[in-house]
């Protein structure tokens, strides 16, 4: 690692120090986030800190290995050398593997790289929530998209909570799985899956949008879903749902579509990208309403209609039977009398 510090600058004034970029301390070299609103330098501080920690760990382990090797050799004498050698080799292999694994883990699973995307104020979140329902008409130059993950993540969790509430009030039974697992899987699957798919299409259509911006855009678009589902799970009217679906769903779709159009060049790419996003967004809301709420509709129809519910046992119509019996009995009696009197 220390060889990487060679000074390759030839200028007398020192030149640019590109250690931070080349030393491989982080997988994030995000030059596309020029219009990012987070603007914090935590990434650099985090990388340097991590590199210093790694170097300390390596030297500490090397020192520890040398010490242990020396002590054990002296203690065991000639007999234990073969076993000792084997043990040392195994130990060294284990340590090297652990070092590699922890480096890989720190590189890819370090949540510190996500730290700048959670640096928001409540008022910013509120403004972005409201703006997600307001389509912007200016599509001539790229519209700004907030690179933030707090709002979208909270909206996904809110959608999970609303779905759970809806499933509980409608008495939905999930046979293979749990309610919580289904709700979480559906919402996170939509957010991450559709974002990735649209990002892939955007890559094919040469649209200027990053994965983070796509996640943020789609996440804030779920605000309309939350509002519509919250209202319609409480007030059960199909016509109200369709109206809200068109109004709120439409507004948030238009907002996302306007942003994508402003960042894409060409009629066909715009059509493909925006058409796909609009279709998926609107259909997801339809799916959420009908998949988890149908049972309530069924029960309401059954209770309000004149028909007897098929599961219940229907009492036999005893008065009719008695009348028939009486009539039969009377007829038999009359017949018997007639025979006797003859």
């Amino acid at each position: 690692m220390s060889e990487g510090n060679k000074n390759t600058n030839t200028e007398p004034w020192g030149g640019f120090d590109d250690n931070l970029i080349q030393r491989g301390g982080s997988a994030v070299i995000d030059m596309e986030n020029m219009d990012d609103t987070s603007g914090s330098s935590f990434e650099d501080v985090g990388e340097m800190h991590q590199r210093m920690k790694d170097e300390e760990e390596v030297t500490a382990e090397a020192a520890a290995t040398e010490e242990e090797g020396g002590e054990d050799g002296e203690f065991l004498g000639m007999k234990g050398i073969k076993g000792q050698l084997g043990r040392q080799v195994a130990d060294e292999v284990w340590r090297a593997g652990k070092r590699q694994a922890s480096k890989a883990f720190n590189l890819y699973a370090n949540i510190d790289i996500l730290r700048p995307y959670f640096d928001v104020e409540p008022i910013q979140v509120r403004n972005r929530l409201i703006e997600s329902l307001i389509p912007v008409r200016m599509i001539n130059f790229p519209q700004k998209v907030a690179g933030e993950l707090y709002g979208p993540m909270m909206l996904v969790f809110t959608l999970v909570a609303i779905l759970l509430h809806g499933m509980k009030t409608s008495g939905t039974v999930i046979r293979e799985g749990t309610l919580m697992g289904t709700a979480i899987g559906t919402c996170f699957g939509y957010w991450l899956g559709v974002s990735s798919f649209i990002y892939f299409l955007a890559y094919l259509c040469n649209a200027q949008i990053t994965m983070l911006q796509m996640l943020s855009l789609l996440g804030y678009g779920l605000f309309s879903h939350c509002v519509v589902l919250f209202v319609t799970y409480s007030v059960h009217f199909h016509s109200l749902f369709y109206l809200l679906w068109l109004v709120f769903g439409g507004l948030s779709t238009l907002r996302m579509v306007a942003v994508l159009i402003s960042r894409t060049v060409g009629q066909t790419p715009r059509l493909i990208l925006c058409g796909t996003l609009a279709a998926l967004h609107m259909l997801f809301l339809l799916y959420l309403h009908f998949a988890y709420h149908k049972i309530v509709e069924g029960i309401l129809d059954t209770l309000e209609g004149p028909n007897v519910p098929p599961i219940q046992r229907v009492a036999r119509d005893l008065p009719n039977a008695i009348t028939v019996l009486n009539a039969t009995g009377k007829a038999l009696a009359a017949g018997a009398d007639a025979i006797l009197t003859q």
């Binding site: 409540p122 707090y150 919580m180």
Partner: protein, 243 residues
Amino acid sequence: MGDFKQYDEDFYRTGYYIDDQGQGGYICDPNYPPEYQEGEGVCDPSMDAAYTGQVPGLAPGTMEYTAAGDGFEEEPPLLEELGINFDHIWQKTLTVLDPLKPADSSIMNETDLTGPVLFCITLGATLLMAGKSHFGYVYGISAVGCVGMYMLLNLMSMCSVSCGCVASVLGYCLLPMVALSAFAIFYSLQGLLGMFLALLVIGWCSHSASKIFSTTLGLAGQQLLVAYPCALLYGVFALLSVF
């Protein structure tokens, strides 16, 4: 190692009393890297020793007793050995329950999981009395919720916080939910009154928890942002109690 003696002496005197507010406790100063001042005599909240591998709440100083190999008469009482101090738990509970009292940052000093575990078991018991056997759900949601909040708080704040402290705070603030669940034994919460009570209790729990987190972690202007995920977590508990 000399600090252990001090911890031992301060075990029952570590000011966790309502009258004792305002004593210097752990305050996360965002301008400081997370190194704590010497001579404070308080447990570092980011030190995981009190949480991983050891009995929860065990103060390091009490190890002296078990290592000594003394006779039966000289052994300390079991509760003291386990680090369970009911008086502390009661004091913390009263502090947390009062929504108008300003938060005392020293609540984050001790990773005390006894109170929270007791509250979770009580919640499960009250649900059982209402005819719902949901112990597994309570433990699972608590565990997942604690891990989620731990990750979120570490991402949002400059200071690092340990999972034990997060679990401790969330557990103490669960007490109003236990009261709601106890109320649900006698009166069904599936009406308008029930919904209103549930919303009130969720607000109370999340307000307490976010007050403590934002005061201690230096997230002064972001209390709402911390309160919302807490409200979602407590909302899931409320769903368990209501339905």
